[in-house]
C-alpha cells in the first residue's frame, strides 16, 4: 500500500464532500481564470504600448476637435535632426461600418508615408510596405476585425476588397484593399488606411478638409517622449489649437473607462474569488482532519513518521485544490479559445483572450490556497499525541 493509494482512498471516502468541495472550488476558479486573463491581457498590451514609445497629440478640449494638417510639420520641426523622434503620423477618425451592420469599426486614416515606421508593431514586411505605398486604397486590419467579419463577408483577408461606410460627416462610402492582417494584440480591433485616399475622396465630395484628430509621434526613447510631451504642449499653448499630448497608455486608459471600468471590476472579482475558495478549502480540510484524527493516530502508532502524516494531509489538500482548479479552468479556457470575446466588440473586453500566463497564475493561486488550507490541519497532525488521539472518542 503506497502513500498515494492512501491519499486517493481518502478523497474517495466521503465522495459527496469531495464533490462539493471540488465544485465549490471549480466555479469561482472559472471566473478567476477569465478575470485574470483580462487583467493579464491588459498588462501585456500596456507593456507593448509602452515599448512602442508613441505620443498622441490631440486637441486640448476634445478629440473631436480636429487639428490642422500642418501640426505635423510643427512637431517635426521640434527635432529637425531626428534625434528624439522617428516619425509623426497624423490620423483622422473615419468610424466606418459595414453597410447594414450595426458595429462601428475603429477605422482611421493614417499618413501613408510614416505609418509603417510609427506603427512598427503592425509588422509590415517590405513587400507589404510596397503594396501599401503603391495602392492608394490600401488598408491594414487587426486580426480581431478580420475574424469577426471574415466569417460573414468575403474580402477580409490580404488581397481582399472591403467596403466601409463612415459614420461621421460626410458619411463617405469607400472601398479598401486589404494588404495585411495585423496579429499584434494591441491592434486587434483597428483598421488603418491611407489618409491621402480620404482627403482625395473628400475633395471629390466637394469638401476640403485635410485635418487630423490625432498625431502619433514615435519617439526614440522614454526620456525624449517625456520631453517632447512638454515641448509640444508648450509650442501650441495660447494658439487657436492648443494641444494635449499623452502617451499611448494614458490615452487608452481614457477609453478603458468605457463599459464602467470593467478591468477594475475584474480585479476586484479575482480577489473575492481567491478569498472564497480559500475559505471553502480551509473548511473542508479542517472537517476531514477532525473526523480522521483517530485514524491518523493509528498510522502513527503503527510506525509512520510524523512528517509522513504531515505530508499526507497536506497533499490531500493540494490534490483537492488542483482537481477543483482544473475542473474550473479547463472548460473556461476551452470556451474562451473557441469563442474569442474579441469578436464581441472593442477594448477593453476584446482583450479577453486566455493567455498561458493567466492559466499558470490560476493554477498557482489554487495550489497556494490548497497549501494554506492544508497547512494547519497538517501541522496538527504532525503534533498529534498518539495516545491522546487514540483515546478520544468522536
Amino acid at each position: 500500500m503506497t502513500i498515494a493509494y492512501v491519499m486517493m482512498q481518502n478523497l474517495r471516502r466521503n465522495r459527496t464532500r469531495t464533490a462539493l468541495t471540488i465544485i465549490a472550488f471549480a466555479l469561482p476558479m472559472a471566473i478567476f481564470v477569465a478575470a485574470i486573463s483580462l487583467v493579464v491581457a491588459l498588462i501585456e498590451i500596456n507593456a507593448i504600448s509602452a515599448r512602442e514609445l508613441r505620443l498622441g497629440v490631440h486637441h486640448k478640449t476634445t478629440l473631436v476637435n480636429p487639428l490642422p494638417e500642418g501640426t505635423r510639420r510643427k512637431i517635426e520641426a521640434l527635432d529637425p535632426g531626428g534625434k528624439r523622434l522617428t516619425a509623426v503620423c497624423g490620423m483622422r477618425w473615419f468610424g466606418g461600418k459595414i453597410p447594414n451592420e450595426s458595429g462601428t469599426i475603429q477605422s482611421l486614416a493614417a499618413d501613408a508615408d510614416t505609418f509603417p515606421r510609427v506603427y512598427s508593431d503592425a509588422e509590415l514586411t517590405p513587400a507589404e510596405i510596397e503594396a501599401w505605398n503603391r495602392d492608394r486604397a490600401a488598408a491594414v486590419v487587426g486580426a480581431g476585425v478580420a475574424e469577426t467579419y471574415g466569417s460573414k463577408y468575403s474580402g477580409w483577408k490580404p488581397g481582399g476588397r472591403v467596403v466601409l461606410k463612415s459614420t461621421v460627416p460626410p458619411y463617405l462610402e469607400l472601398e479598401f484593399h486589404i494588404v495585411k492582417v495585423m496579429q499584434a494584440k494591441g491592434q486587434a480591433n483597428v483598421f488603418y488606411f491611407r489618409r491621402d485616399y480620404l482627403t482625395e475622396s473628400f475633395k471629390t465630395a466637394g469638401i476640403d478638409s485635410p485635418d487630423c484628430n490625432i498625431f502619433w509621434v514615435k519617439c526614440n526613447d522614454a526620456a525624449s517622449l517625456a520631453a517632447l510631451q512638454r515641448e509640444i504642449d508648450q509650442t501650441f499653448a495660447n494658439s487657436p489649437n492648443e494641444t494635449k499630448s499623452e502617451d499611448e497608455n494614458t490615452f487608452r486608459a481614457g477609453f478603458t473607462q468605457a463599459l464602467g471600468n470593467l478591468p477594475g471590476l475584474m480585479r476586484a472579482m479575482a480577489i473575492v474569488v481567491v478569498v472564497i475558495i480559500a475559505l471553502v478549502a480551509g473548511n473542508t480540510m479542517m472537517m476531514s482532519f477532525r473526523e480522521r484524527t483517530r485514524e491518523l493516530a493509528v498510522f502513527k502508532a503503527i510506525g509512520f513518521q510524523s512528517w509522513r502524516i504531515f505530508f499526507v494531509v497536506l497533499t490531500e489538500s493540494l490534490l483537492l485544490a488542483l482537481l477543483g482548479a482544473l475542473i474550473g479552468i479547463v472548460p473556461t479556457t476551452l470556451f474562451l479559445l473557441s469563442f474569442p470575446i474579441r469578436r464581441m466588440g472593442y477594448l477593453p473586453i476584446s482583450a479577453l483572450t486566455v493567455s498561458p500566463w493567466a492559466v499558470v497564475i490560476s493554477v498557482v493561486i489554487a495550489l497556494i490556497v490548497g497549501f494554506a488550507a492544508g497547512l494547519w490541519p497538517a501541522y496538527q497532525a504532525l503534533r498529534l499525541k498518539t495516545v491522546d488521539a487514540l483515546r478520544r472518542v468522536g
Binding site: 459527496t16 464532500r17 478640449t61 468610424g95 492648443e242 468605457a258 464602467g260 475559505l279 473526523e291
Partner: protein, 390 residues
C-alpha cells in the same frame, strides 16, 4: 415536536472555526452581490430608455448618434412639413433643433482625470418637446447669455457644476459659462449632460449646423406616417422614435449588465456549494448525536427543520454583515463612456431596498439549498448503527 432553537445556536459555537468560515463565505458573497447589482442597476438607470413614443428624432442618414450627425438649414426646412407635429402653448410647432457637442471636465477639483461630457445647445421649444426635463434647482438659462443648466447626475459627478459654478465651453474651451440651474429627467442620458442656449453654444463651438431635430407629434400613432415622410425621398433624413434611438444606444452596455448577471449567477452557485459543504460536514460529524435525538423521540421532520434553521441562522447573520459592508460603497459616483456617443454617462452606486432584499433572499436560498441535502441525509441515519459506531 421541534428542536429548540437554543440547540442550533449552541451548535454554531461548538464548531467555531467552520461556522465562521461559512459565515465569511456568505458575507463576502452578499457584499460582492450587492455591489455588482447596484453597479448593474446604476448603469441601467443611466440608460433608462427615456424618450417619448410620440417624439421622433431626426438624424443625417449614416450617423449612428446625435454627436456625429449634421443637418443643414434646407434639410431642416423640409422637416417642418412632416405630418402631425404638435403645437406648444405659444402656438409654435414643437420641433426642437439641437446641437450636440462635448467638452472635457475634470471629475474632481484639481484632478487631471478628465471626462468627456456631452453639451447640448437647445432653444426654449426643447422644454416643450422634452417635458420630462424638470428644473429642480435654480432656473432655466436665458437665451443669449453665457448660462447653462446641468443634469443632476452631471452635477453630482463632475467638478464645479453646482449652481453658481463655472464651466469652460467652446472649441478652445475659453468661454466661461455660469451654471444657473439643475435639471432632472428621472434617469436617462440627459441627466449626464450640460444644456445651454443653442445660438451661444453654436457660436462658442464654432459649429453652424444643428446635429438633430426632435419632433413632438400630437399622437404616438402618427409617428409611422411622420417617419415615412422624413425618411422618404423628399427629406431623405433618418428618423426614429426617440425611445428606439435610446434603446439602440444602450445595446452594448446592456451586454455588460448581462455579463455581470452571469458572474453573479456563477458566484451564487459556487457559494451554495460552499455552504452545502459546510453544512454537510457539520451534519456528517454529528451522526451519533442525531441518532441520540431520534432515540429520545424527535421525528425526522424536526431534525430536517433543525438543520435548515441552523444553516439559515448563519446565512442571515452573514448576510446582514455583508449588507453593512456594501453600504460603504453606497452613494459612490461613477461614470462610463458610452461607445456610441463617446461621452460619459454618470451613475450612482446605490444599495436600494430591492437590492438589499434580493441579497437577503439569495442568502436564504443558498442557506436552505445548502442544508436540505445533508439534513435529509441526517434524518435518514440508521439509529442503532449510528449509536453503536465509535
Amino acid at each position: 415536536m421541534a428542536l429548540p432553537l437554543y440547540y442550533n445556536w449552541r451548535n454554531l459555537f461548538v464548531r467555531k472555526l467552520s461556522t465562521s468560515l461559512t459565515f465569511a463565505v456568505v458575507a463576502t458573497l452578499v457584499l460582492v452581490l450587492c455591489v455588482l447589482l447596484s453597479f448593474a442597476a446604476g448603469i441601467r438607470a443611466s440608460l433608462a430608455v427615456s424618450g417619448w413614443p410620440q417624439n421622433v428624432l431626426v438624424l443625417k442618414p449614416g450617423a449612428t448618434a446625435e454627436s456625429t450627425s449634421i443637418i443643414t438649414p434646407d434639410e431642416k426646412g423640409r422637416v417642418v412639413q412632416a405630418p402631425g407635429i404638435a403645437h406648444g402653448a405659444d402656438g409654435k410647432m414643437l420641433i426642437s433643433e439641437e446641437l450636440c457637442t462635448q467638452t472635457s471636465i475634470p471629475r474632481r477639483a484639481g484632478e487631471h482625470n478628465m471626462a468627456n461630457v456631452a453639451v447640448r445647445g437647445v432653444d426654449a421649444t426643447a422644454f416643450g418637446v422634452h417635458p420630462e426635463v424638470k428644473i429642480i434647482e435654480g432656473r432655466r438659462f436665458e437665451p443669449g447669455q453665457l448660462e447653462v443648466i446641468v443634469g443632476k447626475a452631471a452635477r453630482d459627478r463632475f467638478d464645479n457644476l453646482g449652481i453658481g459654478g463655472e464651466v469652460r465651453l467652446g472649441r478652445q474651451g475659453n468661454r466661461l459659462y455660469k451654471v444657473v440651474g439643475v435639471f432632472e429627467t428621472g434617469g436617462g442620458a440627459f441627466d449626464s449632460e450640460i444644456w445651454g442656449g443653442r445660438t451661444q453654444i453654436s457660436d462658442s463651438f464654432n459649429r453652424h449646423f444643428i446635429s438633430s431635430a426632435v419632433l413632438r407629434l400630437d399622437d404616438a400613432a402618427e409617428a409611422a406616417a411622420a417617419i415615412s415622410y422624413l425618411n422618404g425621398p423628399f427629406v431623405a433624413l433618418e428618423s426614429k422614435r426617440e425611445t428606439e434611438y435610446y434603446e439602440d444606444l444602450s445595446k452594448t452596455t446592456r451586454d455588460i449588465v448581462a455579463l455581470t448577471t452571469v458572474l453573479i449567477a456563477i458566484m451564487s452557485i459556487g457559494a451554495a456549494f460552499a455552504v452545502a459543504n459546510t453544512m454537510y460536514a457539520a451534519v456528517d460529524g454529528r451522526r451519533r448525536e442525531i441518532a441520540m435525538l431520534r432515540t429520545i423521540g424527535f421525528g425526522r421532520g424536526a431534525i430536517i427543520l433543525s438543520f435548515v434553521t441552523e444553516s439559515l441562522l448563519v446565512c442571515m447573520t452573514a448576510c446582514l454583515f455583508g449588507l453593512a459592508g456594501a453600504m460603504f460603497f453606497s452613494g459612490t459616483r461613477q461614470d462610463f463612456l458610452s461607445n456610441s456617443t463617446w461621452t460619459v454617462l454618470a451613475y450612482e452606486l446605490k444599495i436600494t431596498p430591492t437590492i438589499a432584499l434580493g441579497s437577503l433572499g439569495l442568502a436564504c436560498l443558498v442557506g436552505v439549498i445548502g442544508a436540505i441535502a445533508p439534513a435529509l441525509r441526517a434524518s435518514r441515519v440508521h439509529v442503532i448503527e449510528a449509536l453503536r459506531k465509535a
